[in-house]
């Protein structure tokens, strides 16, 4: 295992009033446990507000976790100070969602891609940057240009080159294709897969588009309001979704077959507030199978069949 996340928590304080007194916490990530093997791609899906991006950012330590441990190459990096983190920054990188706001408009492409190398004090930067640009399908000449001269797909390639620069073994892809058109999206997905085959790193692929995750991920985690509700190998999850939330999520995807429309079935109600969420199952208020026991205490993550886990009282 390259990465083992145990009981990861991230709470954001909510401040109210003139004195900015603490009025509770947004429990964005509330006890998430999973692991990623070498060369493996794990998909993390869920709606906006489910905490999936926060999980990604905590792992690469762009956010400081409130609790839990993050074992990367068997070292707990959850509490490391910036100095100690520096070695790990080389090994784990992130590709952001929005290729428009994640590149500094005042920096040239060479400077953006080479910034990590400069910080790490590596030599031969120019040559390395040219190589990287070619690796992601741009040309070495593009190095002297600025981000605004590129299209969304090309900018995402630049973001990927920046992540590759320091030679990571693990990359968090935070919705890397959701801002792109399908044809461009396909180019970027192919690129990510090619790079993985070439450099054999692991991905945590955060996305809300289930068809993209299905294509790229080996295993999928489904998150809802700060908790992982279900985890299974990709094909198993699509063939046999167990959690009522996963089922509801799948049935809201349009079918791509106009001759056999299933009809869209929206989930009734709204997700609960992540500020002091209700005890028990967080999906209970919208769940068609909810019973009294759903509201009682924490619901354990049950392994129903090999590698298929679900957090639901129906499978106790």
């Amino acid at each position: 295992m390259i990465l083992e996340v145990k009981d990861l928590k991230k709470y954001f304080p909510v401040k109210r009033g003139l004195m900015r007194l603490n009025a509770g916490y947004v429990k964005a990530v509330d006890g998430v446990t999973f692991s990623i093997g070498e060369g493996e791609t794990v998909g993390l899906v869920g709606e906006s507000g489910s905490g999936k991006t926060t999980v990604g950012k905590c792992i690469v330590r762009l956010l400081n976790p409130t609790g839990g441990s993050i074992l990367f190459d068997n070292t707990d990096i959850a509490g490391l100070r910036p100095k100690g983190l520096k070695t790990y920054r080389k090994k784990m990188q992130i590709v952001f969602q929005d290729p428009f706001s994640s590149l500094n408009p005042r920096m040239t492409i060479s400077d953006i891609v080479g910034e990590g190398l400069a910080i790490m004090g590596e030599s031969g930067r120019e040559k390395r940057v040219s190589e990287l640009l070619e690796t992601v399908g741009l040309s070495a000449r593009d190095g002297s240009r600025y981000p605004h001269e590129f299209s969304g797909g090309q900018r995402q390639r630049i973001g990927i080159a920046r992540a590759l620069a320091v030679g990571p073994s693990f990359i968090v892809c935070d919705e890397p294709v959701s801002a792109l058109d399908v044809s461009i999206q396909a180019q970027i997905i192919n690129l990510l897969e090619e790079l993985q085959a070439k450099f054999s790193f692991s991905y945590l692929f955060v996305a809300h588009d289930l068809s993209v995750v299905r294509h790229i991920a080996d295993r999928i985690l489904v998150m809802y309001v700060g908790k992982v509700m279900e985890e299974a190998p990709t094909e198993e999850l699509f063939a046999n979704p167990l959690h009522p939330y996963t089922k509801a999520l799948f049935s809201s995807i349009p079918s791509l077959d106009p001759a056999n429309r299933r009809g869209l079935s929206p989930i009734p109600g709204e997700p609960p507030s992540p500020v002091e969420p209700p005890p028990g199952c967080r999906f209970a208020s919208r769940c068609p199978h909810a019973t009294a026991q759903c509201a009682e205490g924490d619901i354990e993550f049950i392994e129903v069949s090999k590698n298929h886990k679900v957090r639901c009282v129906l499978y106790r």
Binding site: S151, I189, S252, L256, A259, L264
Partner: protein, 325 residues
Amino acid sequence: MEEVLKIENLKTHFFTGEGPARAVDGVSVSVGKKRTLGLVGESGCGKTVTALSILKLIPSPPGRIVGGSITLSGKEILPLSEVEMRDIRGKLASMIFQEPMTSLNPVFTIGTQIMEAVRIHTDMGRAEAREIAVEYLAKVGIPEARRMMLQYPHQLSGGMKQRVMIAMALCLKPSLLIADEPTTALDVTIQAGILRLIQDLQAESGTAVLLITHDLGIVAEMADEVAVMYAGKIVESGPCISIFSSFVHPYTEGLFKSLPGRTEKGSRLYTIAGSVPSATGFPPGCRFHTRCPLAIEKCSLEEPLLVEVGGDHRCACWVRAGESA
């Protein structure tokens, strides 16, 4: 079929410093009562400009509708003045924009904004307009509609804001609803609710819907007819089922084949080479020929016309029409 919207040979160009951008260049489509037309294509193909042309909301200068005709319920709108257009917007045709976050005015309550729309277009008083607003907010599934009237946009979630936009667009019972990427910024679960809502309201009041999207899944779920747009032109159109089962144009084929859901896991996704050219520099002949795997010499010289390839199914492609190098 009673046609609510009929666009013929529409040309909307933008006169920029780099020369004219022929963003919409000879588009003809129509939508019947209770029907949904899905207009698909990548960003930059002219879908939104087509929609804005229908409401005559093209920023001018630099934009201008330079040719063609647009009729709404039999009424030709291109010669109409701005004052006359105000009467058309909302009543005959209204639009839901892509970004509910930026389409509502942040300093007015939801109620005020819906009531404003109602009062501008009818001679209703405040009380009556308020009842209409409450009725439509309830219809689009907003809980406690009366209390919600007093909320400001920032107090609502994205899905709720989009519902407010829909309530506002529908409260005057327009004959045509233009939905420009109505769910792009939303989660699939919220998307399902919004699409379902549009379907229900359409069934109830017979509204014609022009649905603009790049998401073929939404088209499959919603559309009766489909028009595929590339670089300002319709390259393929026909009944939804026929387009999905037997697409003909290489561009449509590219769009379908690049969907991750249709490709076997582990194998490479099909990609369309390059990206949509800028509207000031569309290539001559078939505008897709620079990215087309099938292109022959003729494609770069002469523009293909839409020709029938099956019942109501049309395609503009020299190669598919039987030409060979």
